[in-house]
Every structure is written in C-alpha cells, then in structure tokens.
C-alpha cells in the first residue's frame, strides 16, 4: 500500500511540475568552482573586451570581501551555499549559429515542450523571443524585423561586440558591481542575458520576451538583462523561467537593469516557474535576483509585474528609482508558495524627483508548509515634493501549517509627500468556498477560482498571452493544498 501511495505521489509531482524533464544534450562546461581563472575562462569564451574582464575581476575581488555579508535579514532558511560546488559556465555545444535552422533539434524540442516555439513560423503573433539555455542565449527570433525599426534585441554577449558603447555606458549603472552579495557575484560570472535598446519615440509594436531555462546539473545560472528605453519610447518585456526537476538545489542569481529616459515607459513582466522542489522540500531553485529600474527621465514610467510560483527560495525585490520629476513606478506581484517553498519578495520605491508616484499591489498566497513574506521599502527623499505612494498588500493563508508575513518599511523626509499603506491577512472564507462547492465545483477548482479572483488586480496587468498561462499556473501551484 505504502509503495502504491508513493508512486501515486511521484506521478502527481511530475504532473504538477510539467517542466521537470531534462534535455539530454551535450554541453561545454567550465570546471567546477569559482576563481579568477574561471572568470577569465568565461570572458575568453565570450571573446570579451578587456574592460569587461576587468569589471568582472573587480566585482569578484569585492565579492570575496563580502563573505560575511550574505544577506540574513530575509525570512528565509536554507543551508549555507557552497559556492565552490557549482559550475559557473555551461553551454550547449555547437556555437555561433547562423540561423535558427541550425539550432540543435533537441533544443527546439525542449522549448516546444515548454510552450515556447522558437521557429518563427510557429511564433506567437507579435512576440519576439530570446531563449537562454543554461548560460547562453540560444536563439533570438524576429531579429530582422526589429532591426528595421531600430530596436536592438540580442544576447548581451553579442551586444558587447556590436554596441560596446551602449553596454559600457549603462551596464552596472543601475545595479553597481558593489550592490549586494548576489548581484556582485552575478557581475563576476554572468554568462548571458538579453540586451534591449528602444530608440527615441518608438512604441515597440511587439512584446519582447526572454525565456530562461536551467538544464545542466549543478549549474548556477547568472544572466544579466539590460533594457534601455530612449526618450519617448515604450516597450513591453516578458520573462519566463523553468528548470528540470532535480534533487539538489540550483542557484539562479540574475541581475536586471532597466533605464527609462524622458517620457519613456518600460513594462516588465515575469512569470517565474522555476522548479520548486518536491513536497518535502527536496531540490528546487534558489532564486536570488536583483532587479532594478531607474526612471531617469521626467515623466518616465517603469512597471514591474511578477507572478512568482516556482523556486524553492525566492529572494527578489524589483525596484524603481524615481529620479525624473513626475516619474512613475508600479509593482504588481502575485507570489504563491506551497509545500516547503519560501519566498521573501517585494519592492523598493525610491522617490527622489518632484511629483513622483508609486503604486504597490502585492498578493501573497501561502499553502502547505510554506513561508511567504512581503518585504517592501518606500523611501521619500527630502526633495521629492508632492510625491505619492499607495501600497496594498493582501495575504491569503491556505491551511494552518504555513506562514504569511508583511514587512513594509516607510521612510519619509518630505512633508508634502503622501504615503499610504494597507495590508490584510486572512484565509479563503468558508462561505465563498461553500458557495462554489454548492454550485458543483471541486475543492481545487473552487480554490483556484477564488485565488484567481484574489489576484485579479495583478494578473490583469499581464500581457494577454501570459495572463491566461498565469491563471492556469495559479491553480496548478496550489494543487494538493486543500482538503
């Protein structure tokens, strides 16, 4: 009997995390561990200019001084990471592809399974995709069409060669190499990621999208994304992530930098579905990500939307530095934790310019034995006259073995600024649940429906294609949490 139950549970696990397969593909790997030689190896593999290597080494040397400074303030518990036990570079063999046709069919198949078709004829209408497999970008679609409009959308390793002046000027200008433990590590060892430049006045007509996939065992993924929206431009950018189901934890420490100049707008959406580990907390991705946008220009706007359902541990605070007068920062978040997952996520809104506005809508759902923390900072500088912030954080607990926490920090130095924060914590009401059951829904359908309603304000900010996917994901993530 016991064996049968175990098998059933294993089957259910596989069904729950349908991206848990491994692609059997030959890959190039740097030796395990981290030292200056590895960094030189990565830099050489990418054929990087000297200044890039110097920057990496500077970051690495600084990182060594931080050994005592690995962040401990988050409500997260995990064994100390052995940074020497990981591979810092892994790439599918066969490089320099002339076109998509040369991509390894196994890779194409992988992305097809993930629901991300790379061949242009199969593409979702109006979405250009950059696919990052382990450490490197494997394919970017719709390149030509975007080039014609003046949009630069390519792997950052390629941009380093084709647009060195743009990369050099902006890389590290929002998240400096000394920012924090994980970001500093990323500076030293990042391998690829996407680079986007939207020229003045252009409203980018298609959604740009990066799809991240960790495949290799024991591999850390350290990608770096840089998006620059020049004056008066607009871009909507989507990011999706999955990883195979493995028993050991894998580290993902990405850095995303956004720069919006005068009157520019960047919309950045993430659906994060890294492998969360099994029901007992074995395996899963450690997701330690630094995402920050600078609203440099007046009237600029940066909007973060995130749906965080995966990862064993999420440590992530997509932030906005509102420098330009009347600039706007928005943060919409759904974070779902189930089983043994832990999430400590939120945002920082740093108001520096006059008339700056920010809005934070956070929905946290905790089930199983999970811990879910919203942590957010709203800081109003002395010069941010008439700044406004509105924050609403709602938490939902499903079951009595999980935790939901809300930790806002509000720091105001300006009298004419207004901040407003509201938070609630509750459970799904028995009345709502009963109403749905009485109408013939299963428990799981009912929970999925109610939780989707709870998250609606956030989900509706997602681009269409993602919204539908995200809604399904909300239901799937909570399977097995009730009853």
């Amino acid at each position: 009997m016991a064996a049968t139950r175990e098998t059933a549970a294993a089957v259910r696990d596989v069904e729950q995390y349908k991206y848990g397969f491994v692609t059997d593909i030959e890959s190039d790997k740097a030796p395990k561990g981290l030292n200056e030689d590895i960094i030189r190896f990565i830099s050489e593999k990418k054929n990087e200019p000297e200044w890039m290597l110097e920057w990496r080494l500077k970051a690495y040397r600084y990182w060594l001084t931080l050994s005592d400074e690995e962040p401990e303030w988050a409500k997260l518990h995990f064994p100390k990471i052995d940074y020497q036990a990981s591979y810092y570079y892994a790439a599918p063999k066969r490089e320099k592809l002339a076109s998509l046709d040369e991509v390894d069919p196994k890779l194409l198949d992988t992305y097809k399974k993930l629901g991300i078709p790379l061949l242009e004829q199969q593409m979702l209408a109006g979405v250009a995709v950059d696919a990052v497999f382990d450490s490197v970008s494997v394919a970017t679609t719709y390149k030509k069409k975007l080039e014609e409009m003046g949009v630069i959308f390519m792997p950052i390793s390629e941009a380093l060669h084709k647009h060195p002046e743009l990369v050099k000027k902006h890389l590290g200008s929002v998240v400096p190499y000394s920012d924090n433990f994980y970001a500093t590590l990323n500076c030293a060892v990042f391998t690829d990621g996407s680079f986007v430049y939207i020229p003045k006045g252009l409203r980018c007509p298609m959604e740009l999208s990066t799809y991240f996939r960790i495949n290799e065992k024991n591999t850390g993924q350290f990608e770096r994304t840089l998006i620059i929206a020049d004056e008066g431009s607009y871009v909507s950018y989507l990011e999706g992530c999955t990883a195979p189901q493995r028993d050991e934890n894998q580290l993902h420490a990405a850095v995303v930098e956004l720069i919006a100049l005068d009157n520019a707008e960047i919309k950045y959406s993430t659906v994060q579905n890294w492998y969360p580990g099994d029901a007992d907390g074995k395996g899963g991705i450690f997701n330690f990500v630094t995402k920050r946008g600078a609203c440099r220009g007046k009237n600029s706007k940066i909007m973060w939307t995130q749906v965080e359902t995966g990862s064993a541990i999420t440590w992530k605070y997509p932030s906005c530095i509102l420098q330009g007068d009347n600039s706007v920062g928005e943060f919409y978040s759904v974070a779902i934790t189930n089983n043994r997952q832990q999430a400590d996520t939120g945002t920082k809104m740093i108001h520096l310019g006059k008339g700056t506005r920010s809005k934070i809508i956070s929905k946290g759902i905790s089930a199983g034995r999970a811990e879910n923390t919203y942590r957010g900072l709203v800081r109003i500088g002395a010069k941010a006259d008439q700044a406004r912030n509105y924050t609403q954080c709602d938490s939902l607990l499903i079951g009595d073995k999980c935790g939901a926490h809300t930790v806002p920090y509000i720091e105001s130095r300006n009298p004419s600024a207004q901040t407003e924060h509201e938070a609630t914590t509750s459970k799904i009401s028995d009345d709502q649940l009963f109403y749905c059951l009485q109408r013939g829904m299963t428990q799981e359908e009912a929970v999925s429906l109610i939780v989707n309603g709870f998250c609606k304000e956030v989900l509706q900010t997602l681009p269409m294609e993602f919204a539908v996917e995200a809604q399904k994901l909300v239901g799937i993530s909570l399977e097995g949490s009730v009853g």
Partner: protein, 405 residues
C-alpha cells in the same frame, strides 16, 4: 559579534564600581540590529554617564507632571522610591512593596536595568482598585550626566482591576538617561489600564521597556504619550497567554526641535480567540524624527485572532523625518489581521474649509492637529486621564506657537 551589531557604552566596570555592584557585561544594540535600525544609540553611548544619586534633594513635583484629581501618588527620584514626595494612601485591593529586582534575562536594556536598578516598586492588585495610581518618575542629574534605572512591577490577580498613570519627567540640570523597565502581569479576567506620559527634559534620553503578560479573559489597555526628550523609545511587548484576552495599545507623539521618538510594539498572540488593536498617531515639527515599529505575531495555535494596527504621522514643517515599519507575522490561517500606515501633511482642503469659516491659519492648524491626534487620544477609556492627556497636547501646541520659527 560583528562590530555593527553592538554599541560600546559607559555602563561597564567604572559605572558598577561607583555603585559597588557587579558590572553589566552586556552590549547595547548596534546600528545593524534590525529592531534598532531607526534609533541609533551612538549619541547616548558617547556620554560618560555615572549612576544618578539616590539621595538628591527634590522638594516639589515638577509642574510638567499633570495633576490627576483624587489619585494616589507614588514618586521615584532617580529610580528610588521617595516616601516624602508620595501620597501612598492607595485604598483597598492593592498593596505596595519594594522588592528586589529580578536578574532576569531579556533584551540588553532589561539586563542593564536589572544590573543597576535600586529596587522594584511593586504593586500587588487583588481587588477592584477605585483610586487612580499615579506613578511619577523624576530624573535629576545635578552637575554630571547621570543614568537611572527605574523598575516597576505590577501584578494584577484574577478578576482584579486597576488604573495606572505613569509620568516620566526630569529636573533642569545636566543630561540624564532614564532606562525604566515595567513588568506587568494581568491575571485571568483581570483588567489593567495604564497611561504613560513621557515628557522628559530636552537633553534627556529615555529608553523604556514594558513587558506585559495577559492571561485568559484579561484586558490590558495602554496609552503611550511622547512629548519630549532628545531620544525617547517606548518599547512595549505584550504576550497574550490565555484565550479571550484583549489588548488595546494606543499612543500619540508630538515632537519638535531635534527630538527623536520611537514607539516599538510587539504583540504576541499565542492562543486562540484573542484580540489586539493599536492606534498610534504622531505629529513632527522642526527637525524631529518620529519612529513607529509594530509587530503582530500570531502563533500557529492562535486561531480566530483579530489583530489590527494603525500608524499615521503628520508633518508640520519641512525638516522632520518619519520612519515606520508595521509588521505582520502570521502562522495561523483563521485570522483577521490588518495594518495601515500613512504619512503626509495637513490636507490643504481641510485648511481651506476652516479658512472659509473664518478660522485663521494658526488656529486652524492647531484644531486640525488636535483632531488628528484625537483619534488616538479618544481611545483612552478613562475620561479624566483622556482630558489630562488631551490638555498636555494642547499645551504642546501652545508652546509650539510660542517658539520662534
């Protein structure tokens, strides 16, 4: 320990030697200790405090202490009980004693107090006490900076009730540091009301800790008013240790000059069916700094908890700072928990409305500030104390107007 987690202080060997007791070997919290991130102690630690003299001559109660009609009066000067200044006719159902200070572990400030407090002023409540008990703690440093460690212990037995007022003030002179600790035990079905006013001297430091335990069906109502001092912290930690216990913890602060005032609360819901509510309001002027940190912790077993928390702060000028960190830490699912926080200035629409009724701008501001704080002050259920605390705020506003701006 990392250097950023401690602050070196003047309360070691030399301090203990002049008292003839064993030295305190602990540390004050440093700037990187999360609970102290908004209230650094470096300015306090720089001053060479000596133990405040117990037998200092004080003839009268300072005028800043509010008069509460019909109340019994217990006076501490530099932490020591002064019979000559007290009116200890407490009435029935309550007894006063002077006990040894328990050398209990706790936060560093509690340990500091335990190391150097002269004796504990202990009140044992057994019945329904009619008189308000007014405890007055006076700091008097005379010619050199001095530290005092008042200790108060209140034990309310089953079904008893008492109303306490605490006034913390100082005499003019050198700077002083008051480090009071109050331990309050509310027995089953007992009811304790405690109204604390901190109106220390402009140069004074005041770091107070209250440890409260509320048993089943017990009620604890407290109000903490903060009106002055160079650096004040009122830290209140309440544990609800029985079912159906109820806590109402409220407060207000009004700051000017370079005053720093910190209210830190921790409410620990340990068992089911308890309620807690908090309303804190503050106004800041000059270059003052207001801090509110409040944590609601709901343990796994504390189902059916209803916990609420609100902090609102109003800027009266350009220059002050507000830091706020309301926190929910929830481990039980069938609960209703909420918090709210807001900062801003007086609504210009309100000012215009009052101007349109002929009220001049200064009067209008005072009315609006009083109204703003009234939301918190009105939570005081004792009518006489509510009036006295309201008047203290009114007085603060009058003095504020008198200040050259």
């Amino acid at each position: 320990m990392k250097p950023s987690l401690i602050t070196t202080h003047p309360f070691g060997e030399a301090y203990a030697k002049s008292l003839g007791v064993a030295p305190w070997r602990g540390h004050l919290p440093g700037p990187k200790v999360e609970e102290w991130r908004f209230t650094p102690l470096r300015n306090l630690a720089k001053i060479a405090f000596a133990p405040a003299a117990i037998n200092v001559s004080v003839d009268i109660i300072p005028r800043t202490v509010p008069v509460i009609q019909g109340a019994a009066r217990l006076v501490l000067v530099n932490g020591a009980y002064r019979k000559d200044l007290s009116d200890a006719n407490l009435g029935k159902g309550i007894e006063l004693s002077h006990g040894k200070v328990p050398a209990k572990e706790g936060s560093s400030l509690i340990a500091l107090n335990a190391a150097y407090a002269p004796a504990s002023l202990a009140l044992h409540v057994t019945g329904a006490v009619k008189k308000i008990i007014h405890i007055i703690s006076i700091g008097a440093a005379e010619v050199a900076p001095a530290a005092l460690h008042p200790r108060i212990t209140i034990t309310a037995e089953t079904s008893s009730s008492v109303t306490l007022v605490e006034s913390h003030v100082g005499l003019p002179g050198e700077t002083y540091f008051s480090n009071p600790v109050a331990s309050i035990t509310v027995g089953e079905g007992a009811s304790v009301r405690r109204y604390v006013s901190v109106d220390e001297d402009n140069e004074a430091f005041h770091l107070a800790t209250s440890l409260v335990k509320v048993a089943g069906d017990g009620n604890y109502e407290a109000f903490h008013l903060g009106l002055g001092g160079a650096l004040t912290r009122q830290e209140v930690r309440v544990a609800l240790t029985g079912e159906n216990a109820n806590v109402r913890l409220n407060g207000a602060y009004a700051l000017n000059g370079t005053s720093h005032h910190d209210i830190t609360t921790v409410i620990d819901h340990l068992l089911p069916n308890c309620t807690s509510s908090q309303v804190f309001k503050g106004v800041v002027d000059g270059e003052s700094h207001g801090v509110y940190q409040g944590r609601i912790h709901v343990a796994r077993d504390a189902q059916k908890t209803d916990a609420r928390q609100l902090h609102k702060a109003l800027f009266l000028s350009r220059g002050p700072a507000i830091d706020c960190k309301p926190e929910l830490e929830i481990y039980a699912d069938d609960v209703q928990c909420a918090h709210g926080a807001a900062t801003g200035e007086i609504d210009p629409n309100h000012l215009f409305y009052l101007a349109a009724r002929g009220i001049d701008p200064e009067t209008a501001r005072d009315l609006l500030v009083e109204g703003f704080l009234a939301d918190a002050v009105n939570e005081i259920s004792d009518e006489a104390v509510r009036a006295v605390f309201g008047a203290a705020i009114g007085q603060w506003l009058k003095l504020r107007q008198a200040r050259p701006s």
